[in-house]
């Protein structure tokens, strides 16, 4: 059993990691522990809890910037931002239902996993809002990168490297993020009864329009029936959805324009504030796939126009799925181990798209996550480069060893 360490500040994190590097002790980095089931299961000598690195250290709404300890709870940050009518525009998803825990995730965890919700297509991913960091490398040395300003090319952008690295390079101790105003108004236009290929076409049309859409999703009929929004649940048909946000007159104008655009494809409807928010929270948080607790859940990022084709192939042995990011993001629930095959559907899912795309096993039993590649395997030259990058931060391989890949 790993022993728990709880440093009280960043200096102690550095001290602990310097010792661990020198003594070749492996360390699991833990924030709130809300996403320990994401990634390959790991066993380490110690668990280093970053819990003490907590609290918002700087928030200047008119400068659109916030700095906080890496283990500050996302809920606390969001509540603070909401008071000033601001938000993290990348719409971080909440996977507490997906992973069956009620822990409030940390800002460091969200960035380390580079998670983003439906607004990804307009506002970018977590990495695009990550301005600066302080961290301790696997060498036990404190370093920083970036800053508090949006435009910055002073030195390498190590924030990008840290985003999505799942704690395998360094322990984040403090992070600075860009924040943005909450749009004044939100509307969602629904289009009913499209099969998947037709929905992809409709979403591409909306994404290529000048209406600055902020989200595009498609729920096949069986998935739509699981929504808490009655317009969607009771539709008895597939539902394609587009969201617009902004000042009221603009939102009204664009909603009208999108209704006209999609009206040519089929019946349309409109969701306002509350219902609209519910729908997009469901889409972000994978809610429609949760009723089956044993399902193996995959996330695929693919070329949007290929989405329907990839979905059909990936579900050829059963399961269900839906689309976000204008068809570029596929969420799949495959039947649990008996029917899903020995590899949790990895070969089937990864064979469904060519080289252009990637699939992540987002939920599955630990044995499965130990056995198959949780993250998309890279071509040999990129894999070797990634291993060298890992080595440049963590030469003894002490940080979250094996969380992303066997080798790094």
């Amino acid at each position: 059993m790993a022993e728990d360490l709880k440093p009280s500040d960043a200096a102690q994190v550095a001290e602990a990691l310097a010792w661990a590097a020198g003594s070749q002790k492996t360390i699991e980095l833990v924030g709130a522990g809300s996403k320990t089931a994401l990634g390959r299961p790991i066993e380490t000598d110690y668990r280093l809890h970053l819990t003490a690195l907590e609290g918002v250290n700087l928030y200047e709404p008119e400068e659109l910037v916030l700095r906080a300890g890496a283990a500050t709870s996302l809920g606390q940050i969001q509540a603070m931002l909401a008071q000033q009518r601001q938000q993290l525009a990348f719409e971080p998803p909440d996977f507490s239902d997906l992973y069956g825990n009620l822990t409030d995730q940390t800002i460091g965890g969200v960035l380390s996993a580079n998670l983003a919700g439906p607004r990804r297509i307009k506002a970018g991913a977590a990495r695009d809002h990550f301005l600066g960091l302080e961290a301790v490398s696997g060498r036990g040395a404190a370093f920083k990168s970036g800053g508090r300003v949006v435009k910055n090319v002073t030195g390498y952008d190590l924030c990008k490297l840290m985003a999505g690295s799942f704690g395998t390079l360094a322990a984040l101790t403090e992070v600075t993020v860009k924040v943005l105003p909450v749009p004044e108004k939100t509307r969602t236009v629904l289009l009913f009864g499209q099969d998947d290929p037709a929905a992809i076409t409709a979403m591409s049309q909306a994404a290529g329009s000048p209406h600055e859409v902020s989200a595009l999703a498609h729920l096949p009929s069986a998935i739509a029936a699981r929504s808490a929004v009655s317009y969607i649940k009771d539709a008895g048909a597939a539902v394609t959805a587009v969201r617009v946000e902004g000042p009221e007159p603009s939102v009204e104008h664009r909603t009208e324009a999108l209704r006209r655009m999609w009206g040519g494809h089929g019946a349309v409807e409109e969701l306002h504030g509350h219902n609209s928010n519910t729908l997009w929270r469901e889409v972000a948080n994978v809610a429609p796939l949760l009723p089956d607790p044993d399902a193996i859940i995959w996330k695929l990022s693919v070329t949007p126009s290929t989405g329907a084709d990839v979905m059909a192939k990936a579900l050829s042995a059963g399961g269900a799925g839906y689309y976000d990011w204008a068809g570029g993001l596929l969420w799949l629930a495959l039947p649990g181990s008996e029917k899903g095959g020995e590899d949790g559907g990895a070969a089937l899912v990864r064979g469904a798209f060519g080289g252009d795309g990637h699939a992540t096993l987002m939920r599955g039993p630990a044995e499965l996550r130990a056995k198959v590649d949780v993250f998309q395997p890279s071509a040999p030259a990129l894999a070797a480069l990634s291993a060298r990058i890992k080595d440049s931060f963590d030469p003894h391989g002490i940080l979250n060893p094996g969380r992303m890949h066997g080798a790094y």
Binding site: N152, G208, S301
Partner: protein, 494 residues
């Protein structure tokens, strides 16, 4: 500016190197003639010049890979070059190095409207991408002022910005895929037409790495549908404090304009005298605020911004009623650099970024520095994102270059002191290299260099740029070992 000492062992290889290069790139693709090499002796930072050993202009990825392998084997230094418009000396040649020019990689490879993506070779100009998709009403958002000439590969290397990046992001936020060649000759493809490839974000790391990690051979960018309309306000203020306050109030009201530019009195006067855009000559600060998007939204917000400006004490306010008028508002801003060039024999453009609320203080201290150094300064400012472009006026023939450089360094130190950074969009290059220690600790810099070692273990790719001292990788890899008992009994456990 001290560059790494040329290595005699490399210089001695010149004739063999030329033979090997010609075996890879036949004909005129290898330039060795003294006169022809002069065309490559500097980039946009023309105060520094150096003739390279040779220039090679490959046409295929295979040739790039072969050149890289050759240089790796012979330990020749390689300086990648796009259009050569860098303002920080990123493409300055090395005496003991070759220039690897990507100018022949100038084709648009694929336009995919359905997925809103364009795949191009790195030598295509920034504007060339927008022009290629203009017919269908699309464009590529980042718009550095050199967009007519600068290449997309260079934009990636420098993480170029532009006037519209407050709303639409800089290069890194608009990239979907890259192909690059390492010094080992390995070709690596990153991303594609999909978003957020898993694994380490090597594409994000490459962006803004100033040609020190790999040579970019293909770029896939995201394109956007052009906004329905754009309108601008031209607002004069009696002080830069009030103008700065107006910027904060606009953003505080939840409005993110497409562009928000500020000019100080010196810049207003130089521009107005040069191109007669109708700027208010009595103003101490001028704001150009552009709103773009759906017509209804723009009309709505332009009024709100106008009201905010009035509340903030504006002394003049014009709203564009036509495309011609909007273009006229911008004409003076876009001509600011040549306008300064007209009133001064030489000028130097700085590129610090500061927290916006420190603007008035920074401008005040900058005028004190101006008096101290005895050189004039004019300011243009991407106000929305705090990116300052002070233009230092000097006369190199009067021996003022060194003073101008000292003045520039003082301005950048000031930016760092108030919580900003050395460069927002031009890059470190050689220009700001020796100021890196103002921002970073030895360990910060060592970690960045260890990352370089993962790509370039022998330090052959664009050395002498970005880092004040390039340490050997073996030296960087060493670490102090803390062994024995856990040294922190004071860390609470549970």
């Amino acid at each position: 500016m001290l560059m790494p000492k040329p290595e005699a062992g490399i210089l001695a290889q010149r004739s063999d190197l030329l033979t090997d290069l010609r075996a890879i790139v036949p004909g005129e693709g290898v330039i060795a003639d003294e006169v022809a090499l002069r065309a490559y002796e500097s980039d946009g930072l023309s105060a520094y010049r150096q003739v390279p050993m040779a220039v090679v202009l490959p046409e295929t990825v295979e040739q790039v890979a072969a050149i890289m392998q050759l240089c790796d084997r012979r330990r020749i230094k390689v300086v990648p070059r796009g259009a050569g418009t860098s303002l920080s000396g990123g493409a300055l040649p090395l005496e003991d190095g070759i220039i690897l020019g990507l100018g022949k990689f100038n084709r648009v490879l694929e336009i995919d409207y359905e997925n809103r993506a364009v795949r191009v070779q790195p030598g295509v100009t920034n504007l060339g991408i927008s022009q290629a998709v203009d017919g269908e009403g699309f464009y590529y958002a980042p718009d550095p002022s050199s967009q007519i000439a600068c290449s997309i590969g260079g934009n990636v290397a420098e993480n170029a910005g532009g006037v519209h990046c407050l709303k639409y992001g800089v290069t890194t936020n608009n990239l979907l895929g890259l192909e690059m060649v390492l010094l080992s000759g390995e070709v690596i493809r990153l991303g594609g037409k999909h978003l957020d490839s898993g694994g380490y974000d090597v594409m994000g790391l490459l962006t803004g790495s100033e040609g020190l990690l790999g040579v970019i051979t293909e770029v896939t960018v995201r394109i956007l549908k052009k906004p329905e309309t754009a309108r601008a306000l031209l607002i004069g203020f009696p002080s830069s404090e009030q103008a700065g306050n107006c910027v904060s109030e606009v953003i505080g009201a939840g409005i993110i304009p497409g562009g928000m530019e500020m000019m100080d009195r010196a810049a207003i006067h130089a521009s107005e005298e040069f191109c007669h855009a109708g700027y208010p000559m009595e103003a101490e600060a001028l704001l150009i605020v552009e709103l773009d998007g759906p017509q209804r939204e723009v009309d709505h917000l332009i009024e709100k911004v106008g009201e905010i400006a009035t509340t903030c004490g504006s002394t003049s306010l014009r709203i564009s009623e036509s495309e011609e008028e909007r273009a006229a508002f911008w004409a003076g801003r876009k001509a600011a650099f040549p306008a300064i060039g007209r009133i001064s024999p030489d000028y130097m453009c700085m590129d610090g970024t500061i927290p916006r609320n420190r603007l008035a203080e920074v401008l005040k201290r900058m005028s004190e520095l101006s008096a101290h150094h005895g050189l004039r300064v004019a300011n243009v400012f991407h106000a929305g994102d705090g990116n300052l472009h002070p233009l230092i006026l000097f006369d190199a023939n009067a021996g003022e270059l060194e003073t101008a450089e000292e003045f520039g360094a003082d301005i950048l130190r000031l930016c760092v002191e108030v919580g900003g950074v050395l460069t927002g969009e031009h890059g470190i290059g050689i220009e700001k290299r020796d100021l890196m220690a103002e921002v970073f600790t030895a360990e910060d810099l060592a970690q960045q260099q260890r990352v370089k070692c993962a790509f370039d273990p022998n330090g052959r790719l664009n050395p002498g740029k970005v880092f004040p001292v390039l340490h050997r990788c073996a030296e960087l890899g060493k670490m102090v070992v803390h062994q024995g008992q856990m040294p922190f009994p004071d860390i609470p456990r549970f």
